[in-house]
């Protein structure tokens, strides 16, 4: 295949990626957009086989593709919707790792004929790819709750990070000039360390923003690889992801009422929180499933506020059963969906759609907030931070400034919680101690099942 035809087909794949991102921006076209993106990737990957020069190692290449398919497809198909955000983080990490590995091989191949620009872009890819890889692994560990979800800050942390960054930059200059393998490995190690230190201080609720940022980083490494490998397609695809990822990161930060700067460096400037100070001592009102059923049965309007606890308990079907039962009793039911309820924006919409909850029952925050005043019962299922008034009245707390669902305006509040443990962001919720709050402890699904059977008996 001539270079011209190859480049032309590459351009076609690039156009498909643009259409994919465009499609993904609107609910009606989102699915088609994703399929167009997959088509673009398929075209690009098939075409490269016609363009290979050496035709060595074909068996290895196909074998590796098969291994990747055998891991990637089942992982993506079998993951429970609850754990989907972690998987996206992992996929982003392996993409960054792949870009870094490609760049390392490129670097070994550069030799004496390489231009300075090629060397610089290669080193850039190694650095940013490694940061994206290790950073994504940390976000995965945080989301999977294999490590603490709170910001990890140690004394002098910011100086360590600053020193690490300076070391990365210094060694980068050295690697560009010296063209040695050992300096490159040192650089890769320093970059991996930087990725870890960079993400550790980020609090749990802000992790999605960081994933989005690292996603944009990986895009840029792909663009840089495209320059070194002389591939227009990689430049287009990588730059598209880098640019749209940057905008998306900003949009996500805005949806959570955060500044990007505050997200990344907030933990260094915020005062340490007296987390759950003496909280456990105060009286709370807990009720039985029957109490909850009675409250719901005599309400005229009920707003359901789902959160991550609903996802963990896989209670989306049970909550729908309860809602259907209430509607059949003539009660008005709406779901109040916070933009970042769960672990990622849109997480709750995905889960509830899985349980066939009608789309028109799902209300976004701006629409549902003015209605809490006319709501008899707000039932909060496994959510905490997204209804925490601390976001409005406690300056300096990690979620301060995040818009919340104003369930406190409702006449009664029911919390379904596993325990008094604070939410993902690790902040005490004053609402739990409110006199109009009833707490129902236990696994969300088990509790809801009991509420449903109590409702049927009324």
């Amino acid at each position: 295949m001539s270079n011209f035809v190859y480049d032309l087909i590459g351009l076609g794949a690039g156009v498909l990626f643009i259409l994919a991102l465009k499609g993904l921006s609107h609910p009606k076209t989102a699915r088609r957009g994703n399929l167009l993106g997959a088509a673009g990737a398929t075209v690009a990957i098939v075409m490269v086989f016609f363009h290979l020069e050496a035709h060595k190692n074909l068996g290895w290449i196909l074998g590796a593709l098969a291994v990747g398919l055998a891991i990637g497809v089942p992982a993506a198909r079998k993951v429970q919707m609850t754990n989907m955000p972690q998987l996206v983080a992992l996929f982003n990490g392996v993409g960054g790792g792949a870009a870094a590995l490609v760049a390392i091989v490129e670097y070994l191949n550069l030799g004496n004929g390489a231009t300075t620009a090629q060397v610089i872009f290669t080193v850039f890819t190694v650095v940013v790819g490694c940061v994206s890889f290790s950073g994504s692994i940390i976000t995965f560990l945080k989301l999977q709750e294999l490590m603490t979800t709170r910001p990890v800050v140690f004394p002098g942390g910011r100086f360590v990070i600053a020193a690490n960054l300076i070391a990365v930059l210094g060694v980068s200059v050295w690697v560009v000039q010296a063209l040695g393998t050992n300096p490159l490995l040192i650089l890769a190690a320093l970059s991996l360390l930087f990725g870890i230190l960079f993400v550790l201080p980020v609090g749990g609720a802000d992790v999605p923003i960081v994933i989005s940022l690292l996603n944009a980083f990986t895009g840029l490494t792909v663009a840089a690889s495209g320059y070194v490998l002389d591939s227009t397609l990689l430049i287009i695809a990588g730059t598209l992801v880098g640019a749209s990822g940057t905008i998306l990161t900003r949009l996500m930060a805005e949806a959570m009422g955060r500044s990007l700067f505050g997200t990344l460096f907030g933990a260094f400037t915020a005062k340490p929180q007296s987390v759950a100070a003496a909280g456990e001592e105060r009286p709370v009102k807990s009720g039985s499933p029957e109490d909850v059923a009675i409250l719901l049965n005599y309400a005229r309007r009920v707003v359901i506020v789902p959160g991550f606890g609903l996802a963990v308990a896989q209670a989306q079907h049970t909550v729908r059963e309860m809602a259907d039962l209430l509607i059949s009793k003539g009660i008005e039911v709406a779901y109040g969906i916070h933009p970042v309820a769960g672990r990622m924006p849109g997480h709750m919409n995905v889960l509830l759609a899985e349980a066939n909850v009608p789309y028109e029952q799902l209300s976004e925050m701006e629409d549902v907030n003015p209605t809490f005043g006319q709501t008899d019962v707000a039932i909060v299922i496994g959510a905490n931070d997204v209804v925490n008034p601390a976001a409005e009245n406690t300056p300096g707390c990690p979620i301060y400034g995040m818009p919340i669902l104003k369930v406190s305006d409702a006449a009664n509040i029911i919390f379904l919680k596993r325990s008094m443990r604070p939410g993902f962001a690790g902040i005490e919720n004053e609402l739990l101690y409110d006199p109009k709050t009833t707490l129902l402890f236990g696994d969300a699904k088990a509790s809801l099942t009991k509420v449903v059977s109590a409702l049927k008996g009324l």
Binding site: L21, H51, A64, V241, L248
Partner: protein, 97 residues
């Protein structure tokens, strides 16, 4: 490729990237991120190119690892995005937003 051609492609792609996602509902943030994430998996193309040219076992090994990782990224990314978007399937009685 000349430097100016590369810079032109880069700058134009930046503007296209900004433009296509400038207005998007928060419901779609996660699928959009996941879709973009899958797109950067085309680094697989680069991984295949370097694997093809690999001069020794070290390079081949690194390139093979890159192919595996990139394949996971691109294939898994599109599949998981599709699963997230199942909620936008047209269904009876459900008004699409």
């Amino acid at each position: 490729m000349t430097a100016i051609a590369v810079i032109s492609i880069f700058v134009l792609a930046v503007f296209v990237g900004f433009e296509v996602v400038s207005k998007v509902s928060s419901t779609l943030h996660t699928p959009l991120m996941s879709g973009a994430n899958a797109i950067h998996g085309v680094i697989l193309v680069g991984a295949i190119i370097v694997a093809d040219k690999a001069a020794n076992n070290l390079e081949l090994g690194l390139a093979i690892a890159a192919i595996i990782l990139a394949t996971i990224n691109v294939v898994g990314g599109f599949v998981v995005t599709d699963r997230m978007l199942e909620m936008f399937k047209p269904k009876k009685g459900g008004e699409q937003k």
